[in-house]
Amino acid sequence: MTVSASSQTQSFQDLIGFDPKGAIPSNEVLLKMYTLMLTLRFWDERSLKLQRSGRISFCVTTKGEEATQVGTVAALRPTDWVFPAYRQPGIPLWRGASLESLAHQIFGSAKDVSLGHQMPNHYSFHQFYYASVSSVIGTQIVHASGAALAAQAKGTDDVAVTYFGDGSTSANDFHSALTVAGAKKAPALFFCVNNHYAISLHVSQQTGAKYLADKGIGYGVKALRVDGNDVLAVYQTTLAMAERARRGEGPALLELVTYRLNPHSSSDDDARYRLKGEMEEWVDKDPIPRFEAFLLEKGVLSPPQVDALRIQVEADVLEATKIAQETPLPEWQTLVEGVYGEIPANLQADLDELLAHEQGLSLPHPGAFPL
């Protein structure tokens, strides 16, 4: 099924797949997409190891969902605002963020751009049009509607996009966001990354709707259901919907059907709730081997290149986390920085009083990494 054939009243039974006659990125871009997907996979592995060994407190991974990140961002402009959930580190990495900057965030180090104010994986990259991540489910969806209204007011053809999970479609702000964007024909793309689980709740238990994409129709928002493990299908659909939005034809809800191959987070035990046989089925649909096979067949990649890339990417990830691990924690003054543009006098006084006492108790200096 191709993108253009689908209409507002389509059946969502068939997933939109790769169209061989559709847009395909250059070989250089294809290689960049593949490299980033590999990087994300190694990043997950390394993060989990760091968490298991007590080096970081927590992590969420994106294993299995790499194509939903890479396929979308590759089809966007670098200046299209992104309002992410917590499983999209691929977006800033695509746009030029360093692995080291991500590593500083998960360690909450002195070089973390967020000053160690948030738990791991809650990145912020304003320079890459990637707004800070919140833990609250679904609040970011409506931010994309607002940024899309701003694009309309400025008269630009930027689009604003947001990512959220299947569980978020039950949250209040999903409704608010699609209401606003639908009513105003705002240039927003809503990427619903359906990874089948909201922590433990299977998507089949999340809603009475047959498909999550069904929900777009009532808001007058173009809705599509895409094979989220086919990075080129994601790319082509995103490109088509972004161009449509840039032409002023309105927002789109893209249900990217994928599967979370890891537990919800480092704190979760997925053995308690996984449906039997489901994991095996989805391991066979893993987006990385699928894309790799395509690239090998097209001659964009060779087997020795794959091996060399894997070694390189793993080394890059290791090096970045090593640097962050050796970086001290932020100074205590950062506790009160960033509440407001300027630190209120009473807040500074309260911190000074606190620090006077803490130093009296000879607590370990924050400069020394406590592990």
């Binding site: 304003h126 607002g146 209204l149 920085e337 960033g338």
Partner: protein, 345 residues
């Protein structure tokens, strides 16, 4: 239906030619501030429920959509979370949004967006992102609005670091403080005492002169007692103080807090160290109200200056009533009794 309105090329705003020697209402003052902000800053967007075609239920945004078009003065769908969430997206992408919540009583569907997102964005990103915006909302009683058109929910927000809470009490302050809020690098909850919307009138400068957020306003100097108040309570306290001066010759200092968060601790302490007596007046329910914070600051940092126990005059700890509103709201006579209590100790 949805006729697209394009910006008018001609300035047709009634206030532009007004005589600055003639007093105007707070509604007019806020309208003028919004007009001047829209005119001078192309990034300003004004939006909310009924703010465009209708000019707002209190007519605060009257004429703005006709002048600036429906892309900059937007009638939004009926979703408060959608309005504040949209403001966040606009702010992050470089605009200066002015969102209206039609009544403070209806701000709660947007509470999550304000408290979890808008107020925390700068801190949680370590200053990488910021969320400068103004959320305007009429609040408070005295217009026979009953339970859901009269509430004063400021204390929910002063407990939230990251958002400033500002409440004007005069037309001039409303204009000046709003203009400054529009230049603030931080989000501002701008709560408008709707009881004062149309009366009393006051002199307001024609020019767009911001009044800094932060400093409290000395309404009148005095030496026997300090009264701390804001919004619609300022006039009530002044009426009470005048009567006390007339009857008993006591000299009462009145401080209008204006910016509730961050708090102007220095002004509060300086005043109470001078007078040795303190009274807090606010119309929200008493327990956990903003006056309790002022009392705590005085107790922590100036208790040795006190000649009498501190006292609060506030609303009852009930939802806002309808028929007996005038008993519930602090009244000058009630404020006078409290003043007499503190002075008699």
């Amino acid at each position: 239906m949805n006729a697209t309105m394009t910006p008018s090329s001609q300035t047709s705003h009634a206030l532009i030619q007004r005589n600055p020697e003639t007093p105007i209402t707070m509604v007019q003052a806020i309208n003028e501030a919004l007009f001047q902000a829209l005119e001078s800053n192309p990034n300003v967007i004004v939006f909310g429920e009924d703010v465009g075609m209708s000019g707002g239920v209190f007519r605060v945004t009257e004429g703005l959509q006709a002048q600036f078009g429906d892309k900059r003065v937007i009638d939004m769908p009926l979703t408060e979370a959608g309005i504040i969430g949209s403001a966040y997206g606009m702010a992050v992408s470089g605009m200066t949004p002015v969102a209206e919540i039609q009544f403070a009583d209806y701000i709660f569907p947007a509470f999550d967006q304000i408290v979890s997102e808008v107020a925390k964005l700068r801190y949680r990103s370590g200053g990488d992102c910021a969320c400068p915006m103004v959320i305007r909302t009429p609040y408070g009683g005295g217009i026979r609005g009953g339970t859901y058109h009269s509430q004063s929910p400021e204390a929910y927000f002063t407990q939230t670091p990251g958002i400033k809470v500002v409440i004007p009490s005069t037309p001039a302050d409303a204009k000046g403080l709003l203009l400054c809020a529009l230049q603030s690098p931080d989000p501002v909850l701008f709560m408008e005492p709707k009881r004062l919307y149309r009366s009393p009138k006051g002199l307001v400068p024609l020019e767009a002169i911001p009044i800094p957020l932060g400093p409290a306003r000395l309404v009148q100097a005095g030496k026997d007692l300090s009264v701390f108040c804001y919004g619609a309570m300022v006039d009530i306290c002044q009426a009470a103080a005048n009567k006390m001066q007339e009857n008993d010759g006591v000299s009462i200092e009145i401080i209008d807090l204006r910016t509730l968060s961050p708090i102007d601790e220095a002004s509060i302490l300086a005043s109470v160290r001078k007078t040795g007596r303190a009274l807090m007046v606010y119309e929200a329910p008493k327990t956990g109200g903003y006056g309790a914070e002022i009392a705590a600051i005085i107790a922590e940092k100036a208790v040795e200056y006190l000649k009498a126990p501190i006292k609060r005059v506030a609303g009852l700890d009930t939802p806002y009533p309808y028929s007996l509103e005038s008993v519930y709201m602090p009244h000058p006579l009630r404020v006078m009794r409290a003043m007499q209590d503190v002075l008699a100790f």
